[in-house]
Subunit: 144 residues, 2 copies
DNA sequence: AAATGAGATGCAACAGAAGTGCATTCTTTT
DNA sequence: AAAAGAATGCACTTCTGTTGCATCTCATTT
């Protein structure tokens, strides 16, 4: 979830270290960029922003962040993976952090609607859920 | 949705013609194959089945079917697009055909749970929904 | 401070899926 | 049968994601 709070570099450094990620300059900048955006970002978005850094570095940074629970990946159906920083309490667990995502067909932006939890879903007998992905597509506030 | 009913070739021919799709031999076979499967199929699945036909033909057949409302596309988060034949009454409209999809992490199969409609979702002011995609991941009946 | 070593970064190359242009073949219509 | 239009097949391109390996950076140890 994109934080509305802007973190200082010192705070970001703490966040990364808490999760066992070495706070390099690039990682701090990438985290800062992600956390300032209200929307989920793709690798391409990072490439455009950090054009002096290599694709691979950005790619691996996202993977590292994901592995360590710093960002979560979003599949909004656009065909490219997007990422948003997790809320503080978020453990990306099925019980407590399954919010829905809204994908705007006009501006192509994907927003985390953290306040909108996914309703309880009943499954047929024999099926067990581990994860739920709910993406609503339409027109966002900005574009309507 | 994969029909449980097996259609005769004559019936399939009617279905295609009703939708304005010329019922060529390949298209009949592809529809038949799709409709006999309980699960959504990828382009690769069709390639494996119809190895004497060209990828492009299969690709374009799926696109044509999708455009004409004969199949619906499913993004189950596996990274590849999958397709399943629509139910008879399905117009892929938000009001009446939004069922959920279940993706099994073990067998990698995606099933349409047509009986499980997507619950009503409330959106913040200014947002309007055109489409909803709900994929539950976990372990299916067969694999549990 | 210099050496060491682990981790981070950059470059190149690859893999898989999706998509397009064009020539050829098939079907339907006249 | 000829013509027109649609379907198919082949080759090629693009885009995203991914990996291997060499190099660089930084923290730690001596």
């Amino acid at each position: 979830m994109p934080n509305t709070v802007i973190n200082t570099m010192e705070e970001i450094e703490e966040i990364l270290e808490e999760r066992g990620v070495r706070p390099t300059t690039m990682r701090l900048l990438i985290y800062k960029f992600l956390s300032e955006k209200r929307v989920a970002l793709s690798l391409k978005d990072l490439e455009n922003k950090f054009d002096r850094s290599d694709r691979t570095t950005l790619f691996r940074t996202l993977k590292t962040f994901e592995d360590k629970g710093i960002v979560h990946q979003i599949d909004d159906g656009s065909g490219v993976n997007k990422y948003a920083v997790c809320a503080l309490e978020c453990n990306c667990e099925i019980e407590n952090d399954l919010h829905l995502h809204f994908h705007c067909n006009t501006c192509n932006e994907t927003t985390c609607l953290t306040d909108h939890k996914i309703p309880q879903i009943s499954l047929p007998a024999g099926y067990s859920a581990e994860n739920v992905n709910l993406v609503v597509k339409g027109v966002c506030e900005k574009c309507s």
